[in-house]
């Protein structure tokens, strides 16, 4: 395997590949890229525990396996519990080195797996929990989850009655568990994603990365727009990038580039039905969230002046 780093659009990214070509992801799948980047960051001394989600399919049917690392499939709601078991099993057998990664979708994390995740986090199990968030149940054909944003279309929140509740605040829930490290990231910022994954790797206890992973078919967008949408999610403030240490120390990664939220929404068919008034409501919500996060950052750092503006090439 190639080692060293490679410049990707001017960003340093490790050359090691742990995702073989031939996997079954759709074109422009944010979840596939998220896995590729996380494994580049964390390296091969890992075991992945995978509940039901798109990645169950992406990895390939028996006897195929697209990842270069061991992988345990498990039931939908059990990622955190099964990962805790894997870690305990490895430890009693004398292996304290292998990182155990629970890799779950938003449904498996925000909804059906939240109880097991809360249990593992509260016990501070030594696992790296990664939620790749495509904001709906995509494996089963785009049904809403509690990570689906306000106003979005899904097959269970049809246009006549789109999603009427805001996205659940997973990071606040995890912060309330006082886990040592939680961070958000997205695939259009690979250097940031890799830095956070590496930082998480170096910490013991429950660590969580919440990665926004755009889904072209589910978000009703062109697959070649995936990176742009991921980038706009951050640049417009829709998906803030930040870290929370010990549940209390907040550090914002970037501040938005001041782009209107509309720039993010208009590329996605799932928001196509929204009226100007509805968009205004979403904008207010994004603003309020930023205000909250800036306060948390200021409480930790004494200032918000140190937050860099998102590097956004358009």
């Amino acid at each position: 395997m190639r080692t060293g780093t490679l410049l990707w659009a001017g960003l340093e990214v490790p050359q090691e590949e742990y995702l073989h070509p031939g996997h079954l992801a759709c074109q422009g799948c944010g979840a596939a890229l998220a896995m590729r980047l996380v494994l580049k960051a964390v390296g091969g001394d890992v075991m992945v525990v995978l509940p039901a989600c798109c990645w169950t399919i992406i990895d390939g049917p028996f006897p195929y396996h697209a990842l270069r690392v061991p992988l345990l499939h498990t039931a939908f709601e059990t990622a955190a519990a099964a990962a805790a078991g894997v870690k305990a099993g490895l430890e009693v057998l004398g292996d304290t080195r292998t990182q155990v990664i629970a890799w779950a979708g938003d449904g498996g994390t925000f909804d059906i797996g939240l109880q097991a995740l809360s249990g593992a986090a509260e016990r501070n199990e030594d696992i790296l929990y990664i939620c790749y968030d495509n904001e709906a149940y995509m494996n089963t054909g785009i049904q809403r989850s509690s990570a689906t944003p306000l106003g979005a279309w899904t097959t269970t929140t049809p246009e006549a009655h789109p999603e009427d509740r805001p996205k659940k605040d997973l990071m606040a829930i995890m912060a309330a568990h006082r886990i040592p490290y939680a961070a958000t990231a997205t695939v259009a910022f690979p250097d940031d994603l890799i830095r956070k994954a590496r930082k998480a790797k170096g910490i013991r206890g429950t660590r969580l990365l919440h990665i926004l992973a755009p889904c072209p078919p589910g978000w009703r967008m062109e697959s070649e727009r995936m990176i742009k949408v991921s980038r706009l999610a951050v640049a417009t403030g829709a998906f803030p990038l930040f870290e929370v240490e010990e549940g209390t120390r907040y550090t914002l990664t970037y501040r938005p580039a001041g782009l209107p939220l509309k720039e993010y929404l208009k590329l996605q068919g799932r928001f196509a039905h929204l009226t100007e008034d509805q968009i205004a409501v979403l904008e207010k919500q994004v603003e309020a969230r930023w205000k909250e996060l800036l306060e948390l950052h200021a409480r930790t750092h004494g200032t918000v002046e140190d937050i860099p503006v998102v590097p956004f090439g358009g």
Partner: protein, 388 residues
């Protein structure tokens, strides 16, 4: 470490804990529920005091308890959990997962009736409702058998790569103290060496376990599971004999007593066998030709043994402290299906009794034998001890 064998007066629950200690389990993951709690409380003490070199994961639910056992067993650790009733029902999805993944997990289930209405008393429906999950099921009669069946459970499970459920009646066994021989560790180690998993997830080896199997391959995995169940019959007997040599106690698939010239036979399982034994002994003293069969292993089901033992008898009463709603008592269903291929079948009558922990006394069983003697055909269900 227990260096010398000793007899202690302990409950069935604690006998299970000692069985787990002696089996050198490495990962325990469990959630409390009456009447199982003492099993895990004592195990927590064993782990906390360093008597056991194990990790105890205090999960937030039974579903997670089984998920964590599955995780730990997948990398080759020896794992154990214990539960009861509602907890077992909550685990259901993961019970299928454990057997499908061919993981030799051992669990104790303390039989308790399912709600509503709430009940904490014995009733076999909780475990029997899990009969199709691919777990071996052992119904024990005594605390000693509970301890022994944990050790034997690991031995057989690790040989055939299927999980084992050791089943005890609530209170009648779980909370009743009896003398139990707790063996020295050396002898148990000789019988049950450390687990070396033939298939497991290994760091650095990029294999996936449990991925999507299309219709071209799924079927064969199921056939292999059934073949493993078939092999388990032989394994249970062979390991039972080996165990008997070392520890002086033999356990097979079924236990038969007073059978030599028996014309009528009581078939039952679990602690009720003790009550039935007292009744049958009494009837024998009166000169009546009554025998007793205790089904110890319910999965794999002892078809052959039951045909051999019950063939040629006149009448069989199956006592079920359980009920498959819309069908019959579950042991009754299964005994009938075992006997069906025989040309000359005894009359088999199913008695449902003692649900939700209602007391069953030796007099009840004697009266059941009288009832059986009168019958020329079998009604769907004979309810016993129901208030009308």
């Amino acid at each position: 470490m227990i260096t010398a064998s000793a007899t202690k007066v302990i409950t069935g629950n604690h006998a299970v804990s000692y069985g787990v200690l002696l089996s050198r389990v490495q990962v325990i993951s469990a959630y409390p529920i009456t009447p199982q709690t003492q099993v895990v409380e004592l195990l927590s003490e064993f782990v906390a005091s360093g008597k056991m070199a194990a990790r105890f994961i205090t999960v937030e639910s039974e579903h997670s308890a089984m998920a964590a056992c599955i995780g730990a067993a997948s990398v080759g650790a020896r794992t154990f959990t214990a539960t009861s009733s509602q907890g077992l029902a909550l685990m259901h999805e993961m019970l299928h997962w454990a057997s499908g993944a061919r993981l030799p997990i051992v669990m104790a289930n303390i039989n308790r009736a399912l709600a509503p209405p709430w009940s904490i008393w014995t009733d076999q429906t909780d475990s029997l409702a899990q009969r199709d999950t691919g777990w071996m099921q052992i119904y024990v009669e005594t605390s000693q058998e509970a301890l022994d069946s944990i050790i034997l459970g690991f031995k057989v499970s690790e040989r055939v790569l299927l999980p084992t459920m050791v089943v005890l009646d609530a209170f009648l066994l779980s909370h009743t103290a009896e003398p139990v021989e707790i063996y020295d560790q050396g002898r148990v180690d000789e019988f049950l060496p450390p687990f070396s998993a033939p298939y497991r997830l290994k760091p650095g080896v990029p294999q996936a376990l449990g991925g999507l199997a299309d219709p071209g391959v799924y079927f064969e995995f199921r056939v292999k599971l059934q073949e493993a169940m078939e092999k388990a019959r032989e394994a249970i007997l062979e390991e039972g004999k080996r165990f008997a040599k070392l520890f002086g106690r033999f356990y097979g698939l079924v236990q038969e007593e007073f059978m030599e010239d028996a014309e009528m036979v009581i078939v039952t399982a679990g602690a009720m066998a003790g009550t039935a034994r007292a009744a049958v002994r009494e009837l024998r003293n009166e000169g009546r030709k009554v025998g007793l069969v205790r089904i110890r292993v319910f999965r794999p089901f002892p078809f052959v043994e039951l045909r051999q033992i019950l063939g040629g008898r006149k009448k069989v009463a199956v006592l079920d402290r359980n009920l498959s709603l819309g069908h019959h008592g579950i042991f009754y269903e299964e005994v009938k299906s075992a006997l069906y291929p025989m040309a000359a079948r005894p009359l088999v009558v199913g008695y449902v009794l003692g649900l939700g922990g209602r007391d069953v006394r030796p007099e009840d069983i004697q009266a059941i034998v009288d009832d059986l003697e009168m019958r020329e055909e079998a009604p769907e269900i004979v309810w016993w001890g129901v208030k009308r």
